[in-house]
Symmetry: C2
Subunit: 264 residues, 2 copies
Amino acid sequence: MMSDPSMLTSNKNPRIQQIRKLQRSSRSRREEGLFVVEGIRLVEESLQAGWEPQMVLYTPDLNPRGLELVERFGAQGVAVIPVAPQVMQAASDTQTPQGILAVLPWRVVKRPAKLDFVVVVDGVRDPGNMGTILRTATAAGVQALFIPPGNVDPLAPKVVRAAMGAHFKLAVEQLAWPEIRQVLARQELVSYLADSSGGQPYAQFDFRTGTALVIGGEAAGAGQEAQYSAARRVHIPMAGEVESLNAAVAAAVLMFEVARPRGS
Amino acid sequence: MMSDPSMLTSNKNPRIQQIRKLQRSSRSRREEGLFVVEGIRLVEESLQAGWEPQMVLYTPDLNPRGLELVERFGAQGVAVIPVAPQVMQAASDTQTPQGILAVLPWRVVKRPAKLDFVVVVDGVRDPGNMGTILRTATAAGVQALFIPPGNVDPLAPKVVRAAMGAHFKLAVEQLAWPEIRQVLARQELVSYLADSSGGQPYAQFDFRTGTALVIGGEAAGAGQEAQYSAARRVHIPMAGEVESLNAAVAAAVLMFEVARPRGS
């Protein structure tokens, strides 16, 4: 392997310290307006979506596809920094880093002017569930996903991994409830609260007109604000009395119920 | 806290060693016909379903609901063993054990004689996905779930946790492909292979007659045997060209598509 005098070998380097902070702390991410994306596939998707990283770290043992990515960033004038494997390990949120990591300025994908399919998540604390909801929303054709306070930070590393690039395609917006209600009203969306214990079965609704799904979290179900913001209640009929669904699964079933008559 | 002379304080104890092996090794589970269930809720569900544990471990700091469970097992003649917290930690598959753990003989829930909704999973390697599929199947009214070779062991600890008690309600059967095909043929089920890259959109099928869904895993998609075993191909239409769904999410959307016209 080539020996590169510019290779970063110390975890004490201020850039590495900055990245570790961004990985750990939602407050740092918010204050700096930055988040971290790891792995060839996700970094590639950010490039395809036209996002410009603040910097890119890579280890020299990166595979050809990854090195090509690094070259393209370099040609664009992005700071590309070779690092020793132990430095990548320190900067990474994963046990087995893939050898490339990008620090990206957060910007919200612009939502369409006219909305007819919106999702609001409420009280989703599990990062894997949040990421899966974002991924599913993109595939179901959701146009904007609103995240009020009380949910896990959508830029947390595990959310970003599970979302598989949704952040680059879907309008993911952290908004307060009053703003959310304003958008729903202005867009004349009918809002449906997913409610495991009440409301009508989902097959009884016609979701072809403008729809906002308000989807609750794992444990407590929907909060006060969510209940106040939704006009109707909808549930997924289940086989057993005591059954329940994982939050991301319930969200998926409802999102595709809305997408179903619109698609194909 | 009471000092109990019968309390197990050594991780070297053969029972603890046995449990550790059951947690780690699918081969041990298969050879001994045993698996491990952790936490009050799951142990409670096993009791409600009438399963009799080989033994139950608990820590004396267990909450009243848990201690009541322990008492009920004791009254049934089950070996209930108080253990020190560090012993529970050693026996547990989780970082923060809930203070109760049961070793259960594995038995398959009996499937109905006449089947009209069956799921076959193929190449699901991720334990969280497998567990979520089992949980969702129970809620969607699936009558039997067949697991051919090439999937993660459905009795692995993470699967059991994510399945939230599905093992006690749903016929979860590890069968070879020829046996699976035999059941599908005898029951005159129409089999549908979930295929992200082909087939007809799911909304075009009428799933009200006897249905077997063959659902592929995360990465490679369906294997040879799965393709050979399914009469039709079905896909979930998605908004973007390059989108994909998490395996458990895709399974959920299809299972509820089958349940939808039957339910409510």
